[in-house]
């Protein structure tokens, strides 16, 4: 928790179904393994993420540059692949560190 609020992480993918759900499962698993609570993750598609308030964004390398223009997010990471759980965990750690979350 930072400033007493839950952190909101957007997972930005092309569509809101399918591959994004798989990525969310793996990101949530990483957060569980790191013992992090009070961070919520939500899937958002590339068409609508801009209007969403959030603290950080996780996306795939395909959208890495696009998301950096987000008006609210303070930290961004891009994962190489949906099933590369080692890479996902490292990127989640990087994001949490940038947001000042302990784990």
């Amino acid at each position: 928790m930072v400033d007493g609020k839950d952190l909101r992480i957007l997972i930005v993918c092309t569509f809101g179904a399918g591959s994004s759900q798989l990525l969310k499962m793996n990101i949530d698993e990483s957060l569980r393994e790191l013992g992090v609570e009070n961070v919520t993750t939500e899937v958002c598609d590339s068409g609508s993420y801009r209007g969403e308030k959030c603290d950080g964004i996780i996306t795939t390398t395909a959208h890495e540059e696009m998301v950096k223009g987000h008006p609210y997010a303070k930290a961004f990471v891009a994962v190489k692949g949906i099933f590369n759980t080692a890479d996902i965990k490292n990127k989640v750690k990087t994001l949490l560190t940038e947001l000042g979350v302990e784990f």
Partner: protein, 174 residues
């Protein structure tokens, strides 16, 4: 009586019940020859059309999605997950798998060429795709892709996620 501990298997995290219900032998095709990525999606859709899981327009929707969004569905080296937005073009949640020989370019420089393609559909974004978690756990394992792409029989793929012992059944050649 001696306990043979080597025969004790550790139960995996999920019950592995849903994927085998949806990804049946009929929905697996091996070593398919496709002329290009559109053809690959078409081939993967054949069992779903035969089972009336999807409308024919859903095949075009999956191909259009790639045109519009680029090869976003390439998710790992050699692997693509093809789908379109949830809609009434899908009658019920469904999934199929093909391996491609030779591998096909989808236009994703990180993950091309593709030799394992899974196509799936869901009528509603909020519908709980029961097989998704099992699929995720299966594909998280580093050797799953190797086993899938090298499979010469459907049994080899089915045994990756089935609760039944396929080794004693008749060999189903894909």
């Amino acid at each position: 009586m001696e306990l043979n501990l080597k025969k004790v298997t550790v139960r995996e995290r999920t019950n592995k019940m849903y994927l085998e219900k949806f990804l049946t032998a009929e929905r697996i095709q091996l070593k398919c020859k496709a002329s290009d990525w559109r053809d690959a999606i078409r081939i993967a859709s054949v069992p779903l059309l035969q089972a009336n899981d999807i409308k024919p327009e859903y095949v075009k929707a999956m191909q259009d999605a790639v045109e519009e969004h680029g090869p976003y569905m390439c998710l790992a080296e050699g692997f693509a997950l093809s789908h379109a937005e949830p809609s009434s073009l899908v009658h019920k949640e469904c999934i199929s798998l093909i391996t491609l020989d030779p591998p096909i370019e989808f236009g994703n420089k990180d993950f091309d060429p593709i030799d394992v393609l899974i196509a799936f559909g869901t009528p509603d974004a909020k519908a709980h795709m029961n097989f998704l978690r099992e699929l995720c756990e299966l594909l998280n394992k580093p050797d799953s892709f190797i086993k899938i792409r090298e499979a010469k029989t459907k049994n080899e793929i089915l045994s990756l996620f089935s609760t039944h012992d396929h080794s004693k059944k008749e060999v189903l050649i894909g």
